[in-house]
Symmetry: C2
Subunit: 330 residues, 2 copies
C-alpha cells in the first residue's frame, strides 16, 4: 500500500501545498509549527463565512478566499497586531470543481504574500451544505500592546478610518443594479462600491499607530453605529457620533444625499472593515498625522461621554433611530 | 442605542461566555489574547466536522462538541504538545433550538476543563446547510520538541496506543444494530464500541513520552493502515504491520474473529484517535514502560523498512489487500 492517501490529501497536495508557509511543514503533518516572536503576546481571531450568507455562491473564488482571510486580518489590525499566519478550514460541496479550488487557493496564496500572513495548515472536508470557509489568524503584539475594545473612557475622541458604508451600498447595488439611487453613479463609482463589498482592505498599517495612541479599538464589520455602541458598552461609557462627520466616499455621498434610508444603510450596514478607535483628545493630532503617514486616513466622528448608550445625530441635528444599529444573520 | 447587539451576541453572551477561558476576554473583543509560555514552540491544528458527514445530526450536542474538540486535542497529543487553548467556529442552521446550543456549550465547557484547553474565542454564524463546527487548537512543546510525522527511519519499531477499530465497528453497529456479527456482543461490549465512536480519548498523557522517545508520530484518524502508510511515505521509508499484533478490545476481537471484512474495517476504518509512533528498537522498553506509567498502553505492531510502501500481514501470514487503506469523504 502506498501513502498517497485520500481525495482530500490529493486536493491539499495539488492546490494548497504550493501556497503553504514554512510552519505548515508542507501540510504533510497533523499540525503546524510556529515559533512565536520573543516578548510578544499572541492575538487570535477566527471568522467563518458561508456561501449564500456572507458571500454569493457565484462570487469569484479568489475574491471569496481574499475576503475570508481579510476579515480576520482586519480583526488583528484593530488589536494592534501584525499577522503571524493563518489556518484554513474549507468545507466543500461534493462536485466542487477543481477549477474553483485552484482559483480559491490562488487568491488565498496571493493575499497570504501581500499581507505577510502565511497559510500554516487547516482542514478540507466535504459538506452537503454550501461552501463554508473558516479562517483562524494569529498575530503578535509587543507584550502588553493589545488594543482592547474595553479601554474607552468618557471625554475621548471617536475616530474611524477610511470611508464608511461603501460595502453595504455595494451589496445593495449588486442586489438592485437598476435601483433609482444608483442611476446617479458613473461606472467608476459603481465599481468602487462593488469592490468594497468584495475586497475589504485590512488596515494593518494602522496597527502600530493604534498601539501608540488608541485607548480602545475594534474593526467595523457589522455596521458603524452598532459596532460603536458595542465598543462603548464594553468600555462602560456612552457617546455621540455626528452623521455629517462620518467619512463617505464620493459614490456613497452621492447615493445617500437626501436619502435617509440609504444613509441609514451606510451607518448600520456591514462589511466596512474599517477601524473605529477611541483616542484621548490631546493625542488626536499625532494619531491623525501618523495614521496619514501610514497611508490610512482617519476622521474624527464623535466623542465618548459618561453614562451609557450611543446617540447618532443626523444631518438635521436630531438623533437618528437606527434600531439595533447593526447587521445580524440571526 | 444600546450596545446589546445582535442575535449572535446574545447567543455568545448566554451560552459561550460562561465557558470561556481568561484569554477570551469575556468574548467581548474582536480577538483573544494569549501569552505563549517562554521557550516553547506553538503547535496549531484545525479540524472541521459537519453534521451528516462526521457525526449524526441527532447525536447528543454535548457529544458532538466533545468530539469536535477532542479530534484536535488528539493532533496536539501526537505532536508531543500540551494544549494552550482553542477557538470555535459554529455554523448553525436557522431554527437551531437554544437547548441544542446550551447542551453543546455545556459539553464543550466540560471538556475544556477536563483537558485543560480553555475556549479562547471564535465565531457563530448562520448557515442554510448542516451544523458545521470548526475548532482550532493551540498547543505548546518545549522548543525543538515537536514530534514530526516525517522522522521515521528504516529498522524502527511501529507502536500504537490503546485499541484499534472500535470506533469504526461502533459506527457499523450503529448503522446496523441487528447485523449478525454484533449478535455475539453483550450490552457492555456494544456500549464500548458505540462510545468509542462518539467520544474519542485524546492521548494527551502520551505527549511527553512521545517527545522523549518517538522519531515520528501521528494520530490515527483515518484508519490505521492508511495513516501508517502516510507516515512511512512522509518519512521516506517502508514498513510492515502484523494484523495479529494490532491491539483489539474484547468487543472488536469478538466481532472480527473469522470475519475478514470486519477485520478490514478495524484496520482501515476511521475515528480511532489513537497514536501511531515509530521508536528506535532500543528505546521500546522505556517507551512502553513510561507510556504505561502515564496510563496509556502501547503495543508493538510492526517495523519500518527501507524502500517504500506498507505491507499489512494478515492472520494467515499473507499480505492483506486493503485498497487505499483509509477512509475518505471525497
Amino acid at each position: 500500500m502506498e501513502g498517497g492517501g485520500s481525495g482530500e490529501d490529493r486536493l491539499i497536495a495539488r492546490f494548497f501545498r504550493p501556497i503553504a508557509g514554512a510552519g505548515a511543514l508542507g501540510l504533510r503533518d497533523d499540525a503546524a509549527l510556529l515559533s512565536p516572536p520573543e516578548g510578544c503576546d499572541l492575538v487570535l481571531t477566527k471568522d467563518a463565512v458561508v456561501a449564500g450568507v456572507h458571500f454569493f455562491a457565484d462570487d469569484a473564488p479568489a475574491s471569496v478566499a481574499r475576503k475570508a482571510l481579510r476579515v480576520n486580518l482586519s480583526d488583528l489590525a484593530a488589536k494592534g497586531a501584525a499577522p503571524l499566519g493563518a489556518l484554513l478550514a474549507l468545507a466543500l460541496p461534493k462536485g466542487t470543481g477543481e477549477a474553483w479550488v485552484a482559483a480559491f487557493a490562488d487568491g488565498l496564496g496571493a493575499d497570504a504574500v501581500a499581507f505577510g500572513c502565511p497559510i500554516l495548515g487547516g482542514d478540507t472536508v466535504a459538506t452537503p451544505g454550501p461552501v463554508t470557509i473558516t479562517i483562524t489568524a494569529l498575530g503578535a503584539v509587543p507584550k502588553g500592546g493589545f488594543v482592547p475594545r474595553t479601554g474607552a473612557r468618557p471625554g475621548q475622541a471617536i475616530l474611524v478610518s477610511g470611508t464608511i458604508g461603501d460595502a453595504a451600498l455595494g451589496l445593495k447595488l449588486r442586489q438592485g443594479p437598476n435601483d433609482v439611487p444608483f442611476g446617479d453613479l458613473d461606472a467608476e463609482q459603481r465599481g468602487h462600491l462593488l469592490d468594497r463589498y468584495l475586497h475589504p482592505q485590512p488596515r494593518l498599517a494602522l496597527a502600530p499607530v493604534l498601539r501608540a495612541y488608541a485607548a480602545a479599538a475594534m474593526d467595523v464589520s457589522d455596521g458603524l453605529a452598532g459596532d460603536a455602541a458595542k465598543m462603548l458598552a464594553a468600555s462602560g461609557c456612552g457617546g455621540v457620533i455626528e452623521a455629517r462627520r462620518v467619512p463617505l466616499s464620493a459614490a456613497a455621498a452621492r447615493v445617500t444625499a437626501g436619502r435617509a434610508e440609504l444613509l441609514r444603510t451606510a451607518l448600520t450596514g456591514g462589511d466596512d472593515y474599517e477601524i473605529l478607535a477611541c483616542v484621548p483628545h490631546a493625542a488626536v493630532p499625532a494619531f491623525t498625522a501618523e495614521a496619514a503617514r501610514a497611508g490610512v486616513p482617519v476622521t474624527l466622528i464623535g466623542e465618548t461621554r459618561g453614562g451609557e448608550g450611543l446617540d447618532v445625530i443626523g444631518p438635521d441635528g436630531v438623533a437618528l433611530d437606527l434600531g439595533s444599529g447593526s447587521f445580524s444573520h440571526f
